[in-house]
Amino acid sequence: MALDPTVRIGDGALVRRLLIGAVVAVSVLVVVMPIAVVVVRAFSAGVGAYLANLAHPDTLHAIGLTVVTALVAVPVNTAFGIAAAWAITKFTFPGRKLLLVVIELPFSISPIVAGVALLFVYGLQGLLGPFLRDHDIAIMFALPGIILASMFVTAPFVARELIPLMQSQGTDLEEAATSLGASGLRTFLTVTLPGVRWALLYGIVLCNARVMGEFGAVSVVSGNIRGQTNTLPLHIELLYQDYNAVGAFAAASVLTLIALFTLIAKVALEGRGAGRVPRAAKTAPAAAPAGEPAA
């Protein structure tokens, strides 16, 4: 049946134009301009200065530290996210609701609090302090601490992308697969994962962006030593406070680029079933994997 367009309120030409105009204007002012400012300021001393700023040893070290942190934190959080999402959506078990809350937790608490908490567990005077000192392991004010802090704060991201999607997909496909004789692992690899691959990819991209951009929690645990324990966001702060605005923006431009890339990835992947589960796509992801596993 041809879809008759429905009648809705707010469709009047005047209301519509007013709303669209106002919203777009404010959006541009609020969201677009900050990006513009970063770019303009970064290059305000010329391209040469921009490149020189990026090539500065401290900056390079900060970039390196950030990348290493991401290389460890993201895969760990991905594995955690997949495992948690899988457990939550495919099974019921006591404490399931609690796990859901725990996953949401790092999302809503202040990064400072997270940093302080970690300090109190792993710092010299913390719970595990004496133990670590005896074994000569430095966690706080060193790389491991930074990685831990970043991991904690960004733990939910992969899980949050997967859970709604997996929930709406239900367990039908997995039940079909196991009834056909597939083992748990095989079912997981060939049925469950492919069904969420785009959402997974987006979760990873997002997690990465947040790991690289984490500021508050890492501030607390890193000790802020220039050239040694500064991640890129911290380095930006340092440069800015040294009144080296151009340098700060140059470094910021790298992170902004990553953020923009994250957004582009989202748009590209959303069309394939990542991100919010839009109404039309609710049935599509369930249909797609059905064609894949070997019957």
Binding site: V101, V116, F120, G213, L234, A259, V267
Partner: protein
């Protein structure tokens, strides 16, 4: 993660209720409230426009809504500060009008509004999308005008999502650190947020005080989380269309 409370209750209370700490609560809460209020209006309008209208650039704006989410808070911090400083692009326009944003509580509100915007938009969008259009047609067929239909039919159905989104936004604003400290000016009693106070105590190696103050933030966050969950559950009750 729970920290061992190595303080006696009296010490805890002393630290937590010190004038400077209390001033920081005031600054933080007021700014978060204003930022959230702004976002309720703007975020709702944004969600409405994105879901119900077609216009060139809609997809672009939809994607950009997530920018505050994906952009590192430090970058947001320096960008907003530069924009709103008296000699910045916006500041230059506002300063002659007597409105100073950078290094004032207003700046804190701007930073908080920026970082918590996506929460409200993304919570309201799915609910708006799933609204049965027949409900509006029914209201109109019964003789209701657009304002009444909006107020009596749509808003009550959207309220739970809106409320949940705003508590998320509020919680996020309460804890926001990176974006705020650049633009705030960080004057104690005036523009110092609670998170910063905790951080300063840490740098002074006054770990007990830091823990105490951090615990205040934590408790507030838990409270908000509980509120959000309760509201979500209530909202779902109405959406059973049978």
């Amino acid at each position: 993660m729970f920290k061992a409370a190595s303080l006696g209750f009296e010490d805890y209370w002393r630290i937590v209720s010190a004038p400077r700490a209390v001033a920081s609560y005031r600054v933080t809460v007021v700014a978060a409230a204003v930022a959230t209020a702004f976002n309720i209006v703007f975020g709702f309008a944004l969600a409405w426009v994105l879901v119900r209208y077609e216009f060139p650039g809609r997809k672009l704006i939809d994607a950009l809504v997530d920018l505050p989410f994906a952009l590192p808070t430090a970058v947001a911090g320096i960008a907003l500060t530069t924009l709103f400083a008296d000699n910045g692009w916006y500041g230059a326009v506002l300063a002659p009008l007597g409105i100073h944003v950078a290094f004032t509580p207003l700046g804190i509100m701007v930073a908080m509004a920026f970082t918590s915007l996506p929460f409200i938009v993304r919570t309201v969008q799915p609910v708006l999308e799933d609204l049965d259009p027949a409900l509006e047609e029914a209201a109109l067929s019964l003789g209701a005008g657009e304002p009444r239909t909006f107020a009596k039919v749509l808003l009550p159905l959207l309220a739970p999502a809106l409320l949940a989104g705003s508590s998320l936004a509020f919680a996020r604003s309460l804890g926001e650190f990176g974006a705020v400290i650049f633009i705030a000016g960080n004057q104690p009693y005036e523009t110092e947020i609670t998170a910063l106070l905790a951080f300063i105590r840490l740098e002074e190696f006054d770990y007990e005080a830091a823990a105490a103050i951090a615990s205040v933030i934590l408790i507030a966050a838990f409270a908000m989380l509980a509120v959000t969950n309760a509201l979500q559950a209530r909202g779902l009750r109405y959406l059973d269309k049978g």
